[in-house]
Symmetry: C2
Subunit: 538 residues, 2 copies
């Protein structure tokens, strides 16, 4: 802490708004950047740090200051040191190759530079008057990713890439908002204007039901769909109970037969229920599985239903020549969600939604007198959000630096390592593979041989008890490993139609530094934790 | 361009994920940061750059590449140079003190450092397992701003600052999403569960109307409300036609009498219409005016209606001892929107919503099996968005560095300069002040003396024609000034009940470098543009 009292005055205030031109001040600013870039080294090298050592209670006790002080409390240098010395060691090292529990991972270091340049330019693509070329650049990036998904012919992109009335997609904060946008557009398309009715956007859901002669509308999704789809149902006035989960088959894909029979039973003649959309998942959050997109596309086409694909996770798989076949059928979707901060390895804050039809977003256009005037080319006219960062600068630059080839290496590594991981599970008697990796996510659990034996001879009630015992074992092992702080595998509960809810360990392989030797260490640790538990009788 | 062909291979790929430890590589990374920090100097010093010199058409023609190349196209160094040399000069210099047209402005340089450290840590506060201390830190920042707004007693904050079941507020991408969140919660509170009905979130709007015995629900807002409120009405299934604009009085505030009579006529006994919320604005986008918040609070209290305040712009005025009185009554709101990227001078991407009642967000809680389990302390349980950046690190640090005193200097400068601006308008015969600044925004227009004279003697039809002529003049002058590229004042169209729609010039004073000498230059330029137009007969 500096000894001189810090005071806010006009002179220092002006100084922080003018970038210094003298060498000393420039050197100081650069020194801070050096601390940020390399001072975090230790944080980024050590353990994953979800240790409970410094417990939540203890941490909570340290952050209880609710006063904004009148005078400055700290200088930038002290703030940076504070974050490096005090915050970072108690944050989670998502960049560790031992952190294989969630969809947040290491990012290439150049992403930090790109985020910095975006902040320094401080453009706001909601309107041309605060972004200009950046809005135009954004359209180019959107077209590149649109083409990655939909593979439309060149003349399509030549026509629409800079066509101000068309909207190939949107940048939003995350996949939740992208899914919300997709269903928003689907809702407005299904409940559009008709005789004497201006449209659901204008008059609301209750009036829309009257005008369209229905009493309910629903969205069909896999039971493994992300919870953001239920949330979107709640927000959009559809009701989250009307986001109907369809059971999955033995490979964790939405069961086609059950989907078709649901569609048929809902669409019976005289039905008062309308299906707004069917959602296929390309990489479910919990198991990384990909629904049978071509079949869902058929069903949607036959029944004229909006086809949304949640490819928040799996989308960039399309950059791999080797594995893009896994997403076959995505090009038939009406709308597709992809997250930049997942497998495009970008910093947080880059959800995206894409539309096959460049005019579908006309259904959600808004104007204002000071911007987004009708006829303007402002990107904010058709978008869930208003002001936002120029995230396209990061994605566009990253595509230049990596090439699809660079991304393909990451994708291929993840998928191949996950398969090797699954093989290793098969070799270890303590473990059972629950969902095999279709992309780079797998789930498994600990099933001790003693319980395996009992299972064979157990009746229904006994099986229930054994499942409950297995669940307790897996919860404890996962927690103890997390607390020991060296590595992190997450856990979830899978609802399986053919047996009880089971607790599984969930691994997400996206860090290129996560190799089989690390995975074996993680499995060894889990075995060791289990052995110690067993010795002390669970 | 480097001559060697760039190839994506495993070796280079690994290199970009490991922060280099040797001096040469570290020096290279730091050099890039130096370019970003100081290479943008020229961009940040020269004109505002909304010049049409490089027209949109020409720019659009340059960004028509829709192919993602397989091999890397450019190295990081080339990408940075490209942004500095090619993008930045064609972006908008929102940091110029001559850019007084929108709510985007210069930010203190330390904000760039803070954004960089946030990116380097890459935490995701949706869940504790990807953020840990950062989630706890965020709760502290939320409490500080909550206290700035609601001034609850200390024991309130001592109880709730780290209480895992309470939610004092949310970080979202922008004010649009904050307003959406506010109305989402208001809708769910008004249309909550009742006998045989699970709630609007669960069962949707049409069922909610039946259960609550209503046929319509509405939100009352000033006619000057931001268009995001209409959009929220559309998204939430209320219908944007049911976001009812209340006319403003002569000081551009929502007319209290008209508001009260609207409330009364809607709430007549036996009415089938429910008022979900009344929205007061603390700093309208177009005129910066503040509604009569205490009176609206009274009306809401008397009629038990949710009171939302959109303080996206005006919120930080509360940090100024001198001017906080302008927002009196905001502490009585149920929910309040504030944007960090506006008058907290943060980089883009920091909308916020605050709730007086720390349990009101229970109405929008969602759970999932792998995170946000019931009983967890994950911040993502009650939030419109899911994954997001740890923006609280920037705001919390900025509050430390600036103190409320530092922010007060900025706020006071803006308001006082806007008043001086208005005085100057009064002194110049060519101009007419249309809306006086209550905060730091004012609108005015060019009204040549010849037209002023004619106006005095004109009948209704002639006045209509004169207004239309004035509008054309102001549109042309604003465009020509924008095109000349030296300075930027925006324009909007105000709908006035007592006369025709009028086009006005709109100035937003938030850059501390914008002083009266610059404002006089801008006005001189407008006069000169008008004179030249007049000479050539408009």
């Amino acid at each position: 802490m500096s000894k001189t009292k810090l005071v806010a005055n006009w002179e220092t205030l002006q100084r922080i708004f003018i970038r210094p031109e003298d060498d000393t001040s420039q050197a100081a600013l650069l020194k801070y950047m050096e601390q940020i870039l390399f001072g975090l080294q230790d944080f980024l090298k050590e353990n994953v740090g979800i240790t409970e050592e410094a417990g939540l209670k203890e941490l909570s006790d340290r952050f209880r200051n609710f006063h904004i002080k009148a005078d400055p409390a700290r200088r930038l240098a002290e703030v940076i040191r504070g974050i490096i010395e005090d915050i970072a060691p108690r944050a989670v090292n998502v960049a560790s190759p031992y952190f294989i529990g969630h969809m947040t991972s290491a990012i290439p270091y150049f992403m930090v530079h790109l985020q910095t340049i975006m902040a320094a330019l401080n453009q706001n693509p909601v309107k041309l008057e605060t972004s200009k070329v950046v809005s135009i650049y954004e359209r180019q990036v959107l077209a590149k990713v649109h083409r990655m998904i939909f593979s439309k012919p060149d003349d399509f992109y030549e026509e629409y890439i800079q066509h101000p009335d068309s909207t190939l997609g949107n940048f939003v904060e995350d996949g939740t908002l992208a899914n919300l946008t997709g269903l928003w557009v689907a809702r407005n398309t299904a409940l559009n204007a008709c005789d004497g009715f201006d449209g659901v956007e204008q008059q609301g859901m209750a009036q829309a039901f009257k005008a369209h002669g229905i009493e309910r509308c629903v969205v069909l999704v896999s039971q493994l769909a992300h919870y953001s789809l239920r949330k979107a149902g709640g927000i959009l006035g559809i009701g989250n109970q009307n986001i109907l989960p369809i059971e999955v088959d033995s490979s964790s894909r939405m069961d086609n037969k059950k989907l078709l029979s649901a569609v048929k039973s809902i669409s019976l003649p005289g039905s008062k229920t309308k299906i707004l959309a069917i959602v296929g998942i390309a990489g479910t959050t919990e198991t990384g599985t990909v629904d049978d997109l071509p079949r869902i596309a058929d069903i949607c086409a036959e029944n004229r239903i909006h086809f949304h694909v949640d490819a928040a996770w799996g989308g960039p798989t399309l950059l791999s020549e080797k594995h893009r076949y896994l997403l076959r059928g995505v090009e038939r979707a009406d709308s597709v969600t992809i997250d930049g901060h997942k497998q495009f390895y970008m910093p947080m804050g880059c959800g995206m939604i894409y539309f096959k039809d460049p005019f579908l977003m006309d259904k959600v256009a808004y104007h204002a007198a000071y911007i987004n005037r009708p006829g303007s080319v402002d990107l904010g006219r058709k978008s869930l959000v208003g002001s936002r960062a120029a995230t396209s600068l990061i994605l566009g630059s990253a595509l230049d630096i990596m090439g699809s080839g660079g991304y393909a290496l990451l994708i291929d590594h993840g998928i191949e390592t996950a398969r090797a991981f699954a093989d290793e599970i098969g070799k270890r008697p303590l473990f059972e593979l629950v969902t095999a990796p279709q992309l780079n996510i797998l789930t498994y659990r600990i099933v001790p041989e003693s319980i395996r034996d009992k299972w064979e001879r157990a009746d229904t009630d006994e099986k229930k008890e054994l499942t409950s015992l297995l669940n307790r074992i897996n919860i404890r092992v996962q927690r103890l490993q997390r607390q020991s702080g060296k590595s992190f595998v997450s856990r979830t509960t899978l609802k399986r139609c053919w047996r009880e809810d089971i607790v599984v360990l969930r691994a997400v392989i996206m860090n290129p530094m996560t190799d089989m030797s690390i995975i074996n260490e993680i499995l060894d640790e889990q075995e060791e934790i289990y052995r110690q538990l067993a010795e002390h009788a669970i």
